[in-house]
């Protein structure tokens, strides 16, 4: 028994041979220090959660949240937004034919026109979005299917893209630039907006395509290989993504600066959406003068070059016109949420007050003043 439990090691270094340490032990007392930390007496705040103590917090939260919510709600309501679905899923839709006949392989472009009416004028800058529904841009394999180095202009990555891009990595032996499924599925509808005058003339509304992407994306994250001088040379030896009609350096025939990987539409598309129903900024309609609204009320026509098939996966395409406030686009949810939570807090506060008055009287020992 004596032997069974002998343990030399854990005895504060009392080794079976080192008992002479005990000599030092006599001098040095083992008495612990009397410090607040070691004696666990640090000064502390000890809140006790009872109806009485919590009560103010609920009221305060309620009182703060409700006004904020109202403010948000009002702000959101002031934002003007117009949305039009041009998918052409139904037979009466103007784009029905395009939608029905179109596939990724077809070479001929299909055009359709969607008329609409703005009841209210849009005052400040108007943001034009295209929206897709049921499009799972957040699919795990889809999200991964890109090569950021290639997009950043890395030459080696350009010629041999990352494996993540499979199966959109190479096309008949030549590397695809830009590779990957995201790039391959680039949204390629072209939208044009016409305002119909009172006298019936179609005025094309100028759509600005600069500044729709994040500044950092455009200038840091996305770069063309070998500088921006001659994109055709730079992209030599690569092939276009399977679904594309034009190679990447011919994305924007109008603005040569907007070609290659730094094409803003491309950049916007490459920023994969979080949710299956999403919108992406397409163009900006800038306010011309302070006197006239950016988009006056009236009749408009949306001209669509219908290239992008979504019906196969039950998708929807929309065009959205929206003004913007400090808190972004139109979204009454947050305001409602604030009001709801604030009200609940207030309500619970009242409940607590009742509880406090009914039950807490015996329990107010904590409140007894010194």
């Amino acid at each position: 028994m004596m032997a069974s439990s002998y343990n030399a090691k854990e005895e504060d270094g009392n080794h079976p041979g080192a008992a002479n340490h005990a000599g030092a032990g006599i001098v040095k007392s083992k008495k612990p220090d009397n410090t607040a930390f070691k004696q666990q007496r640090l000064p502390a705040w000890q809140p006790i959660l009872t109806a009485g103590t919590v009560l103010p917090a609920f009221f305060v939260i309620g009182l703060i949240f409700i006004p904020i919510g109202i403010g948000l709600y009002v702000t959101s309501n002031n934002i003007k937004e117009f949305e039009i679905d041009y998918t052409g899923a139904n037979i009466e839709d103007p784009c029905y034919n395009c939608a029905k006949n179109f596939s990724w392989n077809s070479t001929a472009q299909c055009f359709c026109t969607v008329p609409f009416t703005l009841v209210q004028p849009f005052e400040s800058n108007v943001f034009m979005y295209y929206g897709l529904s049921n499009f799972y841009q957040n699919h795990r394999r889809y999200v991964k299917s890109r090569d950021d180095s290639q997009l950043n202009g890395d030459r080696s990555a350009l010629m041999s893209p990352s494996k993540e891009c499979e199966p959109y990595r190479t096309s008949e032996g030549t590397p695809i630039a830009p590779c990957g499924a995201i790039a391959n599925s680039l949204f390629n509808d072209t939208l044009q907006l016409y305002h119909i005058d009172s006298n019936g003339t179609f005025n094309e509304i100028p759509l600005v395509k600069k500044g729709i992407a994040w500044w950092t994306d455009k200038h840091v994250k996305f770069r063309n290989p070998g500088g921006n001088n001659n994109l055709t040379v730079a992209f030599q030896g690569t092939s276009k993504p399977v679904n594309w009609r034009e190679p990447v350096f011919k994305l924007d025939p109008e603005d040569p600066e907007n070609n290659g990987f730094i094409n803003e539409d491309f950049i916007v598309w490459m920023r994969t959406a979080a949710l299956p129903t999403f919108r992406k900024l397409y163009r900006i309609i800038q306010k011309k003068s302070s006197s006239t609204p950016t988009l006056p009320s009236g009749k408009y026509v949306l001209n669509i070059t219908y290239n992008y098939p979504v019906l196969s996966f039950d998708g929807r395409k929309r065009m959205i016109l929206s003004t913007i406030s400090w808190m972004g686009g139109k979204n009454p949810f947050l305001g409602i949420a604030y009001i709801t939570v604030g009200s609940i807090c207030f309500f619970l506060g009242v409940v607590l007050l009742i509880i406090h008055h009914k039950y807490d009287t015996r329990n107010n020992s904590a409140d007894i003043p010194n």
């Binding site: 950021d148 959109y168 599925s185 010194n370």
Partner: protein, 1520 residues
């Protein structure tokens, strides 16, 4: 020739090798026989050297070995599996390298911890390896200093006093005259007493220094093993002689040489093969209850994980399926370009989801728990309140991972002696020959100590405490000062405690506080002793035979002689710490003195010398030992003799000694008795027989046996004892005539001599008895293995030749010594032992003659007094003696020697031999020793009991003693009834238990109505104070059948029956309904069986606390074992999980630290589960919006480091520092402990509640951002980052709600966490635009911080998520406040108010067991008014309480079958009515008719005693 010699060693080597393999022995040759200690030829080279390496790893082996060990943990394997899964392209979810991070992190944290520990071990190894020792060097022909690690098996090593043994050494030589070497084994077993080791027999008679060069033996011994108490082997000399080796010859590594100037030995085992190292097993690993519970929930987490993965996988399959053949653009083909079927991708996805959801199984939980526990242990270590100043020891946590179990204890099993009591044995009173000596003065003195102690505790004055000892009335102060001067480390300015500590540490004598040492003698007895001494003196002077001494006086003398010599006490002197009394010292000198004189007093010195000569011849004829081996260095003898040489006669002796080179030891043997009896021969051949211990291994060589048998016949033919006696008388006569010694000794101030003597005993009882005898001037002055020297009043020093010592063992419960009485020359056996053991062995008095009558009277009176002592709570010991005739002795001796020399079953044979000897004893008397309660024991027990802990005391003491100690420490209450179970047989026990159960049920039924009335009564009366709630809700797990005011006392024998499988359930049922249980006379095994039974059957948490070796098994069995690092060695401590200096510290350890540790850890674990579930659920919800594709909006970095870094620290701080209730309140309101007992902080449903809450919170955290960003142009990670931040905020605020104590650390840590997250996020998002594929969160955080929406989300989401919990906590705090919360509210009150309330509630709450304070109700008035009101109410309540006191018994009378007033017959009637009890159940109001013992002290308490005695007892009961 050359070839031969070349081959020979090889062959020999092979042979040896084979031999080594075949034989289970080790052969050790001396290294010096071989040229190179490490050479090829050295036969010892295969043995381990003395370099120790306790490290686990080397630089190279660290990584593989450590990893291998870590992968023994299942969790680690799991996480590695997941990390590796990530490398499979089809299923991978994260960047594979990144996914390794958590596993690598966890593994490396553990590895670093291991590395650090190993490094510390390495350093301490190094230190030890480089210690110095003296090893004989062949080349230099002297001992040279070497490092320990260079020592090898077969080396000769020289050991000096106070040196530590570097290896296991066979003792070959010692400077001690008796060839002894004293060692202290404190580092091995913690026992502070000295142990004697003896030189190997063949070297015993060496008269000069041991010369290694002459050594030529070969040692054969056992293979290394870890049995500290066994060593067998033999040494073969060149002459072919074999000598056996025993454990008495072996000095173990780690022990310290004491009292021996110089010793030489040969190393047998070295390094890791030493017994000490083989005994070195690692720390204990226990799994706490909380952890077990946690593991269940981890298992549940796994289930949840699998369900979630399965759900997602099915969802993904369906999602794929709905598209059919039309593959949408976003559904990317597999890398190979092949189309995946929905089923296959579902299967792949299942694996992916396991990776994504891996966080649900908290990888860092295990590491965090370990860290928190280490911190908790640190804080427990640092607690000032658990530090004992007297012994300079604080609590030791030996098991690091069960701190939280301390907060969940339900049963405490305590040892009594040394645990509840101080184990400071104080002699209180004694009875000799039937006469009681009450020692009133002694009692007063003890009372004074007690007062003094309490005084000093109240006003601890520094400095002036030592002189105060004067008031004791003895010469104490002088002694204390003397001692303090002799000890270096003592600081005189120190406090009393410090002084005491210093003295304890420096003295190493454990059992000798002044309280124990200074016994005030009873004047009556002192007179008798003096009278006896003077008569003896007179008789000796007149050469009357000693047998004429009046028998009562003879008994007195024998009594004290027995007290003095019947023990194993070692005498030492404080002036030379730990040095045994050397012969040179005056204390020892007379040992020889009278003998020398007696020799010289023979007619002529010449004749003596011739006689001596003859004897030597004779001796040589019998002994093969060459004479030159005899004895000790001549110079020493010379010195000593010179000291003596005052008379010319002595010069002759010096001459004689010189001439014959004869040792004094030897002379002692030779001159002792003129008759050459067989003993002398035997002694010469079997010296080891003289060493202590009945089970000590002893000589067994055939030579001895033969010589014995030869001798035995010569005994019978030897001159009769009569002649011996007369001869002796003659001598003494002469001695008287020549020697003026006795008066001289008398005249010497007794104290001066005694004060210098110090007794070292193995048990405190022995020391107490020796000190007691010293008070009567019968003092032990020296003990040698073969001789005990005693100083008696008027008679001077007498040497008793010690023939045998039959050591104490717990089965016999007694010890005996066999001595030759120097005065009568009779062989006398003195036995000392437990009264039950001795009383059975007393020779039945022969009633015929007057002597017999006297004996009978003594017997009965002693029994009477014994009962009285026991009733006083004293430990009783009986002293008896027996005179053996030579023939009897010779016969016994023969068989005893056979037993000693037996190879097989020696222990049993020795035991039987002892039994044979200890019969037909003659009772001398009995002693009562008080074992004082430790400070604060009653209070601690009371508060532990209030805390709802059931306390059982398991003791080996006799029933009466135990019961009385139990009363003293408030374990039993005089108010409560006591069930005493004593049964003689299994059946009787069964019936007893049955009846007790019935009785309890009947009582319970009767009292239940009364119970409820009292309850309502309680709540009505006190509008002010803490209410006793309605009976505790069914939550307390196996609602024990309401515990009554009942105490159960059961004795060992009955316990043995009750622990039988068939009865254990009944026994438990009875025990459970009793408030306290006392098991007396229980063996260590029974103790552990009881603990095991309770633990396994009742499924409760058990704590065993004890201090001695007999508690070890109990300590090991219990869930938590606590050892008292007291005086009975360290065995209990070694076996324990926690070691306390004192019992009373248990209160704080359990009530405060246990509570804290439990609640902290429980909360942390729950929080951990919540946190992980909440975080993972976020991703789960997202699956509904990403086609169940396993995508995650939370960046992989955040996902992986969230648990490890961002949210890790606050919970650690809270888990370490959070205090729900302050230490003061926890101690003042022990009821709060039930919180942990019922596992109220962590119940199974709480896990699910937390899970539900986690899912709710994650829903909020997911859907608020979801709706806020619905149909917007937000991208995946710009949306995911706010969610991560929100989750972090929510989790931290959640922790904030659960945190009870906010210190600076909490604030710091939370802000650190938040800032860490944002810093990391900002850096990470700015670092590289293209790395970190697939997520590319470049600049998202930066943009988010510019977005007001982000801030708006940050405000509302945590608020919405935590609203329910916050509201629930608030409502709970008001509507159903837990007791803990009441405690916290009390904390908030100013100290004085709190004290008032607690003192009030203490009155109230102390009454029923484990009430929960439900409402702390105070009047609404301000507290100043309250104080008065309070007092009034208190008075009022007191009044009421006394009323209730009056009322309650009357209620009892109506309902209870037994009442204190009712006469036994009445109660019997009642019992018959109610229970149909059989007649042998007797209800006795605690008066056992046979001996008239009364207990409990106040006889008016009611008590039921069941006893199933033998049949005659039964009859007598019926007849009476």
């Amino acid at each position: 020739m050359a070839r031969d010699s070349e081959e020979d060693p090889k062959a020999a080597k092979r042979q040896r090798k084979r031999k080594q393999k075949e034989n289970k022995t080790r052969t050790v040759h001396a290294n010096i026989l071989y040229d190179h200690a490490k050479g090829e030829e050295n036969p010892n080279r295969h043995y381990a050297n003395n370099k120790i390496k306790t490290t686990k790893y080397t630089v190279l082996s660290f990584l593989p070995k450590n990893l291998f060990e870590q992968f023994h943990r299942f969790a680690n394997v799991y996480f590695v599996f997941i990390a590796l899964l990530n490398f499979v392209p089809v299923v991978n979810a994260f960047q594979p390298e990144l996914a390794l991070a958590p596993v690598v992190f966890i593994l490396s944290v553990t590895a670093i911890k291991d590395l650090w520990e190993d490094y510390r071990r390495h350093r301490s190894d190094n230190e030890i390896n480089h210690m110095d020792c003296l090893v004989y060097c062949r080349v230099e022909r002297r001992y040279v200093e070497k490092f320990w690690k260079e020592v090898r098996v077969g080396d000769f090593i020289r050991l000096r006093c106070n040196e530590i043994l570097p290896a296991d050494v066979l003792l070959l030589s010692s400077s001690d005259p008796d060839r002894l070497c004293h060692i202290e084994t404190a580092t091995l077993d913690g026992e502070t007493n000295l142990k004697q080791r003896q030189v190997v027999r063949s070297f015993l008679d060496l008269d000069c220094d041991f010369d290694p060069l002459k050594y030529n033996g070969i040692i054969e011994c056992e293979k290394p093993n870890n049995d500290l108490n066994r060593f067998r082997g033999y040494i073969v000399h060149r002459s072919g002689r074999r000598d056996a080796l025993y454990k008495e010859n072996l000095l173990l590594r780690g022990c310290t040489i004491r009292n021996t100037e110089d010793a030489v030995g040969i190393i047998i085992y070295a390094g890791h093969e030493t017994k000490a190292m083989l005994n070195n097993n690692g720390p204990r690993y226990k799994r706490s209850k909380l952890e077990r519970q946690m593991n269940v929930d981890v298992f549940w987490c796994v289930i949840i994980l699998l369900v979630m993965c399965l759900f997602t996988a099915v969802g993904h399959g369906l999602w794929m399926f709905q598209y059919g053949d039309k593959r949408p653009v976003f559904d990317v083909l597999s890398p190979e370009g092949t189309d995946l079927s929905p089923v296959m991708s579902a299967i792949y996805l299942f694996l992916t989801m396991i990776i994504v959801f891996q966080v649900l199984i908290p990888i860092s939980l295990f590491v965090s728990i370990e860290i928190v526990k280490i911190c908790q242990v640190f804080f427990i270590h640092q607690d000032l309140d658990l530090y004992d100043e007297e012994t300079d020891s604080n609590l030791q946590c030996r098991a690091l991972n069960i701190t939280e179990d301390l907060g969940q204890m339900q049963y405490i099993f305590s040892d009594k002696t040394g645990t509840l009591t101080e184990n400071k044995m104080v002699f209180r009173r004694c009875t000799v020959a039937g006469v009681e000596y009450s020692h009133d003065a002694n009692a007063k003195r003890l009372a004074m100590y007690q007062e003094m102690d309490s005084e000093e505790e109240e006003c601890p004055s520094r400095g002036g405490t030592l002189p105060r000892r004067d008031s004791v009335g003895s010469h104490q102060s002088a002694k204390v000062v003397l001692r303090s001067q002799s000890t270096k480390s003592h600081r005189r300015t120190g406090s009393r405690a410090e002084a005491k500590r210093a003295s304890i540490l420096s003295k190493h004598t454990a059992f000798s506080s002044p309280m124990e040492k200074d016994i005030t003698p009873d004047p009556q007895l002192l007179d008798k002793v003096n009278e006896c001494g003077s008569q003896m003196d007179f008789m000796r002077f007149h050469s009357q035979p000693m047998s004429q001494l009046p028998s009562d006086l003879a008994d007195v003398l024998d009594f004290f002689v027995a007290l003095t010599i019947c023990n194993t006490v070692v005498v030492s002197s404080p002036n030379q710490p730990r040095q045994k009394q050397q012969l040179l010292q005056p204390g020892h000198q007379p040992l020889l003195h009278p003998r020398l004189l007696s020799v010289l007093s023979s007619p002529s010195a010449e004749s003596t010398l011739t006689k001596l000569d003859e004897e030597q011849n004779l001796q040589q004829a019998f002994s093969p030992v060459p004479p030159q081996y005899d004895g000790r260095p001549l110079s020493a003898a010379e010195g000593e003799l010179r000291y003596e040489a005052e008379s010319p006669d002595e010069a002759a002796l010096v001459y004689a000694a010189r001439a014959y080179k004869c040792s004094l030891v030897r002379m002692r043997f030779e001159l002792k008795s003129p008759v050459k009896t067989i003993e002398d021969f035997i002694k010469r051949f079997t010296p080891s027989r003289l060493t202590s211990g009945s089970n000590s291994s002893s000589s067994s060589s055939l030579v001895t046996n033969r010589s014995f048998t030869r001798g035995c016949s010569s005994v019978l033919s030897s001159p009769s004892a009569e002649s011996t006696l007369t001869k002796l008388d003659e001598e003494q006569n002469l001695q008287q005539a020549f020697s003026p010694v006795p008066p001289q000794y008398d005249g010497r101030p007794l104290s001066a001599v005694e004060g210098e003597l110090r007794y070292e005993a193995e048990s405190p009882d022995e020391a107490a008895l020796v000190y007691a005898a010293r008070a009567y001037k019968c003092s032990l002055v020296g003990r040698l293995p073969d001789q005990v020297t005693v100083e008696l009043p008027h008679l001077g020093k007498l040497s008793f030749e010690l023939l045998h010592t039959l050591g104490f063992d717990s089965t016999r419960k007694r010890m005996s010594v066999v001595v030759r009485h120097p005065l009568t020359d009779q062989i006398t056996v003195y036995t000392k032992g437990a009264d039950s053991a001795i009383m059975e062995l007393i020779r039945p008095p022969d009633t015929g003659n007057s002597k017999g009558k006297r004996h009978k009277k003594i017997l009965s009176r002693t029994q009477h007094f014994l009962n009285l002592y026991a009733a006083d709570g004293l430990r009783t010991l009986c002293i008896a003696k027996k005179v053996l005739s030579k023939e009897q002795y010779a016969c016994w001796l023969q068989r005893h020697l056979e037993a000693e020399t037996a190879i097989q079953g020696r222990e049993e044979l020795l035991f039987e031999s002892a039994l044979r000897l200890e019969t037909n004893l003659q009772l001398l008397g009995a002693t009562g020793i008080e074992d004082r309660l430790q400070d604060g024991v009653p209070e601690t027990i009371a508060s532990l009991r209030q805390a709802g802990l059931q306390i059982w005391v398991l003791t080996g003491d006799k029933q009466e003693t135990a019961v009385n100690i139990a009363y003293a420490c408030k374990l039993l209450d005089p108010e409560e009834e006591i069930l005493t179970l004593n049964a003689d047989s299994q059946e009787a026990c069964a019936v007893l238990l049955e009846e007790s159960l019935h009785y309890i049920q009947a009582k319970f039924l009767c009292s239940s109505s009364e119970h409820t009335t009292t309850k309502s009564y309680h709540s009505n009366v006190s509008p002010f104070g803490i209410y006793t709630p309605p009976p505790p809700p069914s939550s307390c797990p196996p609602a024990p059948p309401a515990v009554h005011q009942l105490g159960l006392v059961i004795d060992g024998r009955t316990l043995a029956y009750a622990l039988d499988r068939s009865l254990e359930d009944k026994f438990l049922a009875v025990a459970q309904s009793c408030r306290s249980v006392l098991c007396c006379r229980s063996t260590p095994l029974q103790k552990s069986m009881v603990v095991k039974l309770v633990r396994n059957k009742l499924k409760v948490m058990t704590l065993a606390i004890g201090d001695g070796a007999n508690d070890v098994s109990m300590i090991q069995v219990a869930d938590v074992g606590v050892g008292i690092s007291g005086q009975e060695g360290m065995q209990a401590v070694m076996a324990s999980d926690f070691a306390l200096p004192r019992f009373r510290y248990l209160q704080k350890l359990l009530l405060v630290h246990g509570h804290w540790c439990y609640s902290r850890l429980a909360n942390m674990i729950l929080y951990f589960f919540y946190k992980n579930a909440m975080f993972v659920a976020l991703i789960f919800w997202y699956q509904f919006y990403c086609g169940f594709s396993g995508s995650s909006m939370i960046d992989q970095w955040y996902l992986i480091f969230f648990n490890l870094m961002f949210s890790a620290f606050p919970q650690l701080i809270t888990g370490t520092l959070d205090k729900d209730v302050s230490a003061e309140t926890l101690q003042q309101l022990p009821q709060l402990y039930t919180n942990g007992q019922n596992s109220e902080e962590y119940k199974p449903y709480m896990f699910w509640m937390n899970m539900i809450d986690a899912f709710y919170q994650s829903l909020v955290c997911f859907f608020i951002p979801y709706f806020a960003y619905a149909d917007s142009d937000v991208d995946l990670f710009t949306w995911g980052t706010p969610i991560t931040s929100l989750a972090l905020f929510t989790i931290l605020v959640h922790l904030g709600i659960e945190t009870k104590t906010w210190t600076r650390m909490n604030w710091l840590c939370i802000s650190f966490s938040v800032s860490l997250f944002f810093t990391v996020a900002l850096c990470y998002n700015a670092y590289c635009p293209t790395c970190f594929s697939p997520s590319n969160p470049y600049w998202s955080m930066q943009r988010l911080l510019q977005d007001p929406l982000f801030y708006l989300l940050c405000v509302i989401t945590p608020a919405a998520a935590l609203l329910p919990r916050y509201f629930y906590r608030a409502c709970q705090g008001t509507l159903f406040p837990s007791p803990v919360q009441v405690g916290r509210q009390l904390d908030k009150l100013p100290a004085e108010t709190r004290r008032n309330i607690l003192s009030l509630s203490g009155v109230k709450m102390g009454l029923p067991l484990g009430p929960k304070p439900h409402f702390l109700s105070l009047g609404k008035t301000s507290f100043k008014g309250c104080n008065k009101k309070q007092q009034q109410q208190q008075q009022q309540r007191r009044g009421l309480q006394t009323d209730s006191d009056k009322e309650l018994p009357s209620a009892d009378k109506d309902t209870l079958p037994y009442t204190k007033d009712a006469a036994p017959p009445a109660s019997k009637d009642c019992l018959d009515q109610t229970l149909d009890a059989s007649s042998w159940i007797t209800s006795t109001p605690l008066l056992s008719p046979s001996d008239g013992v009364q207990f409990p002290p106040d006889g008016d308490s009611f008590c039921v005693k069941y006893s199933r005695g033998s049949e005659d007892r039964l009859k007598s009961d019926q007849s009476s």
